[in-house]
Symmetry: C2
Subunit: 286 residues, 2 copies
């Protein structure tokens, strides 16, 4: 790696993913298949509403249909599952995304599990998670896949590197740890109970922040020359990484916004197109 500092531009990576998709969308349309993503939003959290809208707009620009299912704040688990099952059964829907967090009365795990594996484009089911852990998932969780896509796009080697992941959630910290492990990184997963967190982070050739606390990761936690990926999105569009501070130390870093976020959305579109292609293949072969 050269001494020059690289800003890992998520918009550019996202554009690359989307450019490669446009021909595939056209080809599906010619076969009479309109790829379609259904997003479900429960309650009226303003940031969640913004994310869902961004995803819908990104679909539209690429010729992907999007359906928005909006359910009231007091929706029960059973009602949410019923809505998911309706989308599972709808042959015109190829991908289903349940925007989280969901209101507290809902059993989020039960809701995630209700998504059929063929439409689980964000890898939230236990089955999708394990397939990713074993390295053969059709649809790994979008943010973890986006992080790997950014590293690949910028030809940043993963094999043999020490990756430190801060966070252990089922849709981010754990799956990204396992993806990096499958790509032959040595992986350390940290969390709120980690002692000497700063010392551990300082071991990382690659640092992934997925902790959900604004500007949590400081510059002096970063080994000089490390690659820093910020998967946080906190209120006010602030990442988990203190960007200005870490920029000094890192050889490469993702900004927020325009880092991991747009690549996550592009990955979601890619999975939706792939889900639609699988259906097209199935029709052709049956």
């Amino acid at each position: 790696m050269t001494a020059a500092k690289v800003i890992l531009d998520g918009n550019q990576v996202a554009m690359d993913i989307k450019e490669k998709l446009s021909g595939r969308v056209m080809s599906l349309l010619e076969q009479g298949i309109v790829p379609c993503l259904a997003t479900i939003l429960v309650g009226d959290d303003p940031s969640s509403a913004t994310y869902v809208r961004m995803k819908g707009n990104a679909c539209k620009r690429l010729g992907i249909r999007s359906i928005r299912v909006e359910l009231p704040e007091n929706t029960s688990t059973d009602e949410l599952i019923a809505a998911i099952q309706e989308l599972n059964a709808d042959p015109n829907v190829h991908g289903i995304l349940l925007q989280h967090p969901v209101p507290h009365q809902i059993d989020e795990r039960a809701a995630f599990e209700a998504i059929s594996i063929e439409k689980d484009v964000d890898g939230v089911t236990t089955l999708g998670f394990a397939q990713n852990a074993f390295g053969f998932a059709d649809f790994p969780s979008c943010t973890p896949e986006a992080i790997v896509a950014i590293l690949d796009y910028y030809h940043i080697p993963i094999e043999g590197k020490h990756a430190v992941v801060i966070g252990r959630s089922p849709i981010l910290g754990k799956p990204v740890s396992l993806m990096l492990l499958n790509k032959d990184a040595t992986v350390t997963t940290c969390h709120s109970k980690t002692t000497n967190l700063e010392d551990i982070v300082r071991l990382g050739d690659i640092v992934v922040a997925a902790v959900g606390r604004p500007k949590f990761v400081k510059g002096d936690w970063i080994k000089p020359g490390a690659v820093v990926l910020d998967a946080g999105y906190n209120e006010g569009n602030i990442g988990d990484v203190d960007y200005a501070d870490c920029l000094e130390k890192a050889s490469a870093i993702t900004p927020v916004p325009a880092g991991v976020g747009p690549v996550t959305i592009a990955t979601l579109l890619k999975h939706t197109v792939e889900a639609a292609e699988k259906l097209a293949d199935f029709r052709e072969n049956s």
Copy 2:
């Protein structure tokens, strides 16, 4: 922890687990339910045959029935899956264990997947793996659970400790990493592509060797006072850890034999009894 060196006696932990089971087995027998483990052995690998025999004997001593299905070396994936499905359908079988490795012509993953989740007492299915990763598995893989059981039995704290796992297999390295993570350790997973392995292992407060290479882990890789768990079982009953060498440095260590092995078998029995109890509960409530 005191300065005294602790030999983590797996036989003692196993006895404790089995003692707690005997009353539960009696109670099942009184209800007319004979807990039953079916083991499947494909081919004629002598060590595998020994392990299967040991498991069968352990069942017998506890009043658990065991069935041994032996299939020839040239069994196909389809034939193996058919045998598994027969056991899935048999109401008198509560747990199914496919002894691995299986001969090379068999798709091991497909075979594991064929085991129904209710009978997956070794946590080998993708679903069982993910449930364990998320912390709500009925039956985590037996060796990972045995490792945690040994730490618990000897009151060795896990929370906030740095655990280093050497190995990333789907039934050992990965699930034990995730179990220790769920128990609030900071977890580093290493493997054949790890650079500076010795330096990484030296970070570990808890070191789990699950690499499948005899006497691989040397004493000078071990941080003074670390706890060393040897999950290896190589030919000639030799562990993955150079025991005499590591004994010098460790505060606590499992021997081979009489370390992780017997606890793994006791855990398998426990899961079989639990699977039978679930059936009993189901009958009572339906």
